[in-house]
């Protein structure tokens, strides 16, 4: 604001006040008066100035406006859903978090689901909640893609005004600031002139839309890109990988950067028809054969890693603690097309091959390599064979296949089969090992998986342990169980009588945990209805 032009007299007054009228003599009109009058006269004058200045204030000049945000054409949220979002966002993590979780739903954990559902409906975010939404996404990287997708163009506009929200400009999700993938002119321009993050996002978007066009785009500037950038760009070819990519990837095998070479080889090995896959198949096949009786497998690991192998991505030096030959073998087997083996091993099916005994302790090494191959080539038949029956005693033990690898194998199976396998696993082995496996199952859990989890929780309660031993699974169940399961859980929310052999007080804690579970499921059902506009 600007002040009317009486500043000269005012400054005089301020100086007099600072130094004191005894020293300065006060305002001129006070000359000849007593010392006390001089001070009073100064205050009179200052009061006049103060009120005059305030009464005369005028607005200052307007700065350049920030410019309008891009319009958001999506429809507005239903009112109830808007209120729900405000609630979810007001429950900030860390604030007032006790050691025990009590019986009330953990709202922050429901935010990702809410955002995913809102994005499916295609709603626009309410502007007044954007700051809270950006703050939430700032603290949680996993929230960023759905939160920014939902937040839309106005959030990007807002993020440009506040440095705390810079991350939103770096992690632009598809659609908001990128050109449409079939707008060749704009795509070409952004690809040639954009910042690295924009280019990565652009390549990803184009690849998802038209795989061929994305590879051609990448090839056009390939030789001028920096090595780190080449690696990132190459990585985005995982989406929509196809045989048409082979010539380009084959050239990348001679790249200057070793990391780029390794990644290219890995991508090629996921294309069973590629020349690299064929070369790997021939190399692997010389190491593995049926024994003389044709009832078991013998392994003769490679004796050297020749330059051809190295060019095809085989790393010559093993990590500490691994034998050289075993290391080479595992790399050959994981890169060879799985279709090689039935042919090579007497026309057996994957299940029959996995069941064959392997000589000289090679089984662990060989099966682990096949697991990686099945995951890389997304081969459900091999995955099924390697997983085995969920209830088999070896499934929970420290076998050849670790839980992490099993989780990866499961993700190659169709959703229903995946849930069925995990349900079988839980029924046979309980919940203690199930967390990772549950993580790859589709949400909400379909039957029989949901029932198996609830039954297993019930068994764990009856066994007299404390619920926090299962807090991971409980948390997952709150987020992933079908809300329809709430009715069946109702009977578990009562506090049972204390049992003599149980842990003291466990019954009450279990009741509380089940109350939270039921409460969360109900809340999820309500959230879904709200977003559908049913409330």
């Amino acid at each position: 604001m600007t002040t009317p032009s009486t500043t000269a007299g005012w400054e005089e007054l301020v100086t007099s006040a600072l130094l004191g009228t005894d020293r300065r003599g006060g305002v001129s009109a006070a000359a000849g008066r007593s010392r006390k009058d001089a001070a009073a006269a100064l205050l009179d004058e200052a009061a006049l100035h103060t009120v005059r200045r305030r009464a005369g204030l005028r607005p200052g000049p307007a700065a350049a406006p920030p410019g309008p945000a891009q319009p958001d054409p999506r429809p507005a949220l239903p009112a109830a859903a808007r209120r729900r979002l405000a609630l979810l966002l007001s429950d900030r993590p860390g604030a007032g978090s006790g050691a025990r979780r009590g019986n009330t739903p953990d709202l922050t954990e429901l935010l990702p689901q809410w955002l995913a559902a809102a994005n499916e409906h295609g709603y626009a975010a309410p502007p007044e909640l954007l700051p809270a939404l950006l703050d939430a996404a700032r603290g949680r990287t996993d929230l960023r893609p759905p939160a920014l997708g939902f937040a839309g163009p106005r959030a990007l506009w807002l993020a440009r005004l506040n440095p705390e929200w810079k991350f939103a400009l770096r992690t632009t999700p598809g659609g908001s600031a990128l050109p449409a993938p079939d707008d060749h002119e704009a795509v070409r321009q952004l690809w040639e002139e954009g910042l690295f993050a924009e280019r990565v996002a652009l390549l990803g978007a184009v690849r998802a839309h038209d795989a061929e066009a994305a590879r051609i785009l990448l090839e056009s500037t390939w030789s001028t890109e920096r090595a780190e950038d080449r690696l990132m760009f190459l990585d985005s070819l995982r989406t929509g990988l196809a045989d048409a990519d082979e010539p380009f990837l084959e050239r990348a095998l001679s790249d200057r950067s070793r990391n780029v070479r390794t990644t290219a080889a890995e991508l090629l090995s996921a294309l069973p028809a590629s020349a690299l896959a064929g070369r790997m198949a021939r190399r692997a096949a010389t190491s593995i054969a049926l024994d003389a009786l044709r009832t078991g497998i013998t392994v003769e690991a490679p004796h050297e890693c020749d330059p051809g192998m190295e060019r095809d991505g085989v790393v010559a030096t093993p990590p500490p603690g691994r034998g050289q030959r075993a290391w080479w073998l595992s790399q050959l087997v994981e890169s060879a097309p799985l279709a090689t083996w039935p042919q090579r091993l007497g026309g057996r099916s994957p299940a029959e091959i996995v069941a064959l005994p392997v000589a000289d302790d090679w089984q662990t090494e060989l099966h682990a390599a096949w697991c990686r191959a099945a995951v890389r080539q997304r081969d459900a038949a091999w995955a099924r064979a390697l997983l085995g029956a969920p209830a088999s005693p070896g499934a929970a033990g420290p076998g050849a296949v670790s839980l992490a690898e099993r989780a990866k194998l499961l993700s190659t199976l169709p959703e229903g089969e995946r849930a069925g396998w995990v349900a079988g696993f839980i029924s046979a082995h309980g919940l203690s090992e199930a967390f990772q496996l549950l993580g790859v199952c589709a949400v909400p859990w379909s039957e029989p998986l949901g029932g198996a989890v609830v039954d297993a929780l019930n068994i764990a309660r009856d066994a007299g342990s404390y619920p926090w031993s299962f807090s991971g699974v409980m948390g997952l169940a709150e987020r992933c169980l079908d809300p329809a399961a709430a009715a069946r859980l109702e009977s578990l929310t009562a506090t049972p009588d204390e049992r003599e052999d149980g842990a003291p007080g466990a019954g009450g804690y279990w009741a509380e945990a089940f109350q939270r579970l039921v409460g969360t499921l109900r809340l999820r059902a309500v959230m879904r209805e709200e977003l559908a506009g049913a409330v």
């Binding site: 604001m1 009228t21 009061a47 109830a80 007001s90 009330t104 807002l158």
Partner: protein, 468 residues
């Protein structure tokens, strides 16, 4: 008008929380999980049993008409997390239809007891005091007032003396030696029964530590204090309105003597300021019919939220009476219906008792003005009250524009801009987010330091968004 479907929003409920911890604790309880036997009545009462850590659930009742709260928990927070959670459950529960967690019902015995007691007290309070003041009482009251005026005059005279001493020695030396008008002078003013002067003196003591430019602020405040002293000493010569302002600035008690004005009052803003002893809540109301802007003040001891709570976006059919003097301060008189969302209006003909006349489109907000008009409005207000820090105004079509670390509100045509003095940082970003770079309507307080935005509306159809 029935109360069905006029439940509050979650934001409005959360605005009642006394602090951030209660907000969080309350929002965790805002789901069906821990609640049982919950219900609500047509009259705006809400109740439920909340399972806590003990064996006996807490009994929580809220009268949303107050709002007033009752809970059997030992918390000293007010409202407690259970009351907040219950209200959230109620707010999130839709229209109370089938399958609802809070069906409309008769209040259970334990809730009804408290509700009945409350109704009785309300009626007793609302009933006008019919007893004519006896002459002896009036005489005694007059003598008390005289004695108090004498004490204030003695205090004012002493304060004038101390101010003159301060200026003779110079503000600079006062800063160095710490012999300004500090705590001791403030206590003297409390003794003189002039709390208004006491708090001004106290604030004066904090100015030297307030950063660059403090001598200017210090002299301004000294001068205004001097002006108030002089006005008190010559109050007999002042016009009645200004004399009333002086009395209220000095801190003498006054009562809302203005005629009762019934209107549908829309809550424009509610925000709290707190010092070590007291939480002060300011609630700005706008009369849909009268077009009048009114201020309600409510106080709470430190750490407790003031009792009166009217979340932004509600409207209440009530009578207000003005306090003497030129300000906006009013007292809340009779309330004819529980506060309800401002957007919800009776269908068709106005219901019994509701003010007649249609509500203009988007009319739940005051008409706006330009930044120049706003600055002029504050300037004009100083004629009635030279001590006014700010004046409530509504800016029309202004664009929140970031400038350096701060922000200004600029007229869309670029004619002028007021610097923003924010209540809170998050509020500032909400303001920017709602604008999206376009012109918005903003209600706030325009003063000599700038404009404090309190509430924003995006467009004709948009609801009020609180910035506090």
């Amino acid at each position: 008008m029935t109360q069905q479907g006029v439940r509050w929003t979650a934001d409005q409920v959360l605005a009642l929380a006394p602090d951030a911890a209660s907000r969080n604790a309350g929002s965790k309880l805002g789901a069906a999980g821990p609640w049982s036997e919950a219900g609500s009545s047509k009259e705006g009462a809400v109740w439920g049993l909340c399972k806590g850590s003990g064996s006996k659930p807490y009994q929580t009742v809220v009268d949303t008409a107050g709002p007033a709260y009752q809970c059997s928990c030992p918390s000293r927070k007010f409202p407690c997390k259970h009351a907040l959670g219950l209200l959230l459950l109620w707010a999130g529960d839709g229209d109370g239809g089938g399958g609802s967690a809070m069906p409309e019902a008769e209040a259970p015995e334990w809730a009804e007891q408290w509700l009945a007691g409350r109704r009785k007290r309300e009626q007793a309070k609302a009933a006008p005091d019919k007893g004519e003041g006896r002459p002896a009482d009036e005489e005694a009251a007059r003598r008390r007032a005289e004695r108090r005026a004498e004490r204030v005059t003695a205090g004012v005279t002493e304060l004038e003396q101390r101010l003159a001493d301060l200026l003779r020695g110079g503000l600079a030396s006062a800063e160095q030696t710490g012999h300004g008008l500090g705590e001791e002078t403030a206590r003297r003013m409390v003794d003189a029964q002039a709390p208004g002067l006491a708090s001004r003196v106290q604030e004066l003591g904090m100015i030297p530590a307030s950063g660059p430019g403090w001598p200017v602020r210090m002299l301004e405040e000294c001068a205004l204090l001097h002006l108030l002293d002089q006005a008190w000493l010559r109050r007999e010569q002042l016009p009645p309105g200004l004399a009333a302002t002086v009395r209220s600035r000095i801190g003498l008690p006054s009562s809302a003597e203005g005629p009762a004005l019934r209107d549908r009052w829309v809550v424009l803003a509610q925000y709290d300021t707190a010092d070590a002893r007291l939480t002060t809540r300011r609630i700005w109301l706008y009369g849909q019919e009268s077009g009048r802007t009114a201020l309600l003040l409510s106080y709470g001891a430190a750490g407790r939220a003031p009792e009166l709570a009217l979340p932004v976006g509600l409207a209440l059919d009530a009578e207000l009476s003005a306090y003497p003097g030129g300000g906006h301060r009013h007292a809340l008189g009779e309330r004819f219906a529980p506060a309800a969302p401002a957007e919800v209006r009776p269908d068709g003909a106005p219901a019994d008792g509701a003010p007649a006349g249609g509500v203009p489109a988007g009319g739940v907000r005051p008409g706006g003005m330009t930044t120049h008009e706003a600055a002029a409005a504050y300037g004009t207000a100083l004629r009635e009250d030279p001590w006014a820090e700010s004046w409530p105004v509504t800016l029309r079509d202004v664009i929140p524009t970031p400038v350096g670390d701060g922000m200004q509100l600029a007229d869309a045509d670029g004619a002028g801009a007021l610097p923003v003095v924010p209540v809170s940082r998050p509020g500032l970003w909400r303001l920017a987010a709602v604008s999206g770079g376009g012109g918005v309507t903003v209600f706030g307080e325009c003063g000599h330091r700038g404009f404090t935005p309190l509430t924003v509306w995006a467009d004709e159809a948009g609801g009020a968004v609180s910035l506090c």
